[in-house]
């Protein structure tokens, strides 16, 4: 999170300031990629690039604080992810040999991979083993830094449902790490 500087950075970026935009991008893009690695494995780079293109187009008309900025960014990424999923469902094209390990469905093996103490990648692999809703809520709350209300609006759920999903996901995560003896 940027904090108090955000308003100045946003105004500068909206005025065409390249350095300000670079700062915004460097702050948000890693979190965006981590979110997309769970929700759109294998396509995170492309979706992130499309998301930034969309953000650059609408940057001049954006109004809001840092929470709104991040909510806009991740909402855009989420919509692109949904579009990609629809496209893939209409035109499945990946041969079995072309599927990478990152694209394989996550399972208990993710916990074993996390045991290898791989840091962020292992944590993402653990999150990917959770049910989709729980993983997405935890990522948006922790990685994107959004509050419960923003996540609820983004996912079209009630704040209570978001809270419950987050707690269930954390409990499950605790269970997985306890079973596997994960240490990051």
């Amino acid at each position: 999170m940027i904090g108090e500087e955000f308003a100045d950075l946003l105004a500068a970026a909206q005025g065409g300031g390249e350095a300000a935009f670079s700062r915004l991008w460097r702050n948000a893009n890693p979190a965006l990629l981590r979110y997309l690695r769970v929700t759109a494995p294998g396509a995170e780079e492309d979706i992130a690039a499309e998301t930034w293109v969309h953000v650059v187009r609408g940057l001049a008309s954006f109004r809001g604080d840092e929470q709104a900025w991040r909510a806009w960014l991740f909402t855009t990424a989420r919509r692109r992810t949904i579009d990609l999923a629809r496209h893939r469902s209409r035109r499945p094209e990946a041969a079995l040999d072309d599927i990478t390990a990152a694209q394989l469905p996550s399972s208990a093996d993710s916990a074993e991979a996390a045991m290898e103490n791989l840091g962020t990648a292992a944590a993402i692999a653990l999150l990917a083993g959770l049910p989709r809703m729980q993983a997405e809520v935890i990522l948006l709350r922790v990685v994107a830094g959004l509050d419960t209300e923003s996540v609820a609006r983004m996912l079209c759920k009630s704040p209570g449902a978001v809270r419950v999903a987050a707690h269930r996901g954390l409990r499950r995560l605790a269970q997985i790490t306890a079973d596997a003896g994960v240490t990051l």
Partner: protein, 271 residues
């Protein structure tokens, strides 16, 4: 019955919702059972790696292309062009709507399906057919459908000659005694009035005769009147024909009071 108790898992963390909330908030002093989870969440928010920042040049290039200095001028031009095109779309849609409404109205007027007041207005403005007179309607339907004979009152049906009967000349022989209104008078020909070119027939039989008539009220018409019979001989037969809005008329009538005698009308035209 054996009492098999479910053993409590020793490694299951006993956590509360408050613990989870503090975990999500990033509090570091998590309960011991949640320490691995706190480590996972901390790893999710770790410093960015080089790979995660590799796309900066591409994003900046897009930013320069779209958010650079020339963009406002382009945007202004685009917005002006957009306004112009939108205006033309609205104007075109309005013109199309007006054309459709007017065309439909004209078509309806010439089809004669407008309400009477509108039909009359259309008649005066664009020359659409006149609306039918109220007393034409029951007669038209009745005579055209069945050609009913109305005894003694052929004149009731004599409307068809309304436009064609003006100035009609008639000759009546003294011995011809058909019903008076049936003698070569288009008004009396037991006919019909059809304002739109429909045809109907009606016949009337008066005191000593019968009448038949056909008439077309407006544009073109022809009438036939026939009267005959009676103890004194055949009555009258006529063919009034009307042409033009004012109803030029031609009528041929024959009548005979006694055998061999006839009463007829000569063709006549409106002044």
């Amino acid at each position: 019955m054996p009492n098999i108790s479910q053993p409590q898992r020793q490694d299951e963390p006993a956590v509360t919702d408050a613990d989870l909330a503090s975990l999500l908030a990033g509090t570091t002093d998590a309960v011991p059972g949640l320490r691995p989870v706190a480590d996972v969440l901390a790893a999710l928010t770790a410093e960015a790696t080089g790979m995660e920042l590799a796309g900066e040049a591409r994003a900046l290039a897009e930013f320069r292309r779209r958010a650079g200095a020339p963009v406002p001028a382009k945007r202004a031009r685009r917005s002006t062009a957009g306004l112009t095109s939108r205006l033309w779309v609205k104007v075109g849609a309005s013109v199309a709507a007006v054309v459709v409404v007017l065309g439909g109205g004209v078509a309806a007027a010439f089809a004669g399906v407008l309400p009477t007041s509108f039909q009359r207005l259309a008649h005066e403005v664009i020359g659409a057919p006149m609306p039918p007179a109220p007393h034409d309607l029951p007669h038209r339907g009745r005579s055209a459908a069945h050609g009913q004979v109305v005894h003694g009152q052929p004149a009731v049906h004599g409307k068809p000659a309304a436009s064609g009967g003006h100035g009609a000349k008639r000759q009546v022989r003294p011995h011809a005694t058909p019903a008076p209104t049936a003698q070569g008078n288009p008004h009396a020909q037991g006919g019909q009035g059809n304002p739109h070119g429909q045809q109907g027939q009606g016949s009337g039989q008066g005191h000593q005769g019968s009448g038949q008539g056909q008439g077309n009220r407006h544009k073109q018409g022809n009438g036939q009147g026939q009267q005959s019979a009676g103890p004194h001989g055949p009555g009258q037969q006529g063919n009034p024909q009307n042409k033009g809005p004012n109803g030029s008329q031609q009528a041929n009538r024959r009548a005979a009071g006694h055998p061999g005698r006839s009463v007829g009308t000569r063709p006549a035209r409106d002044p």
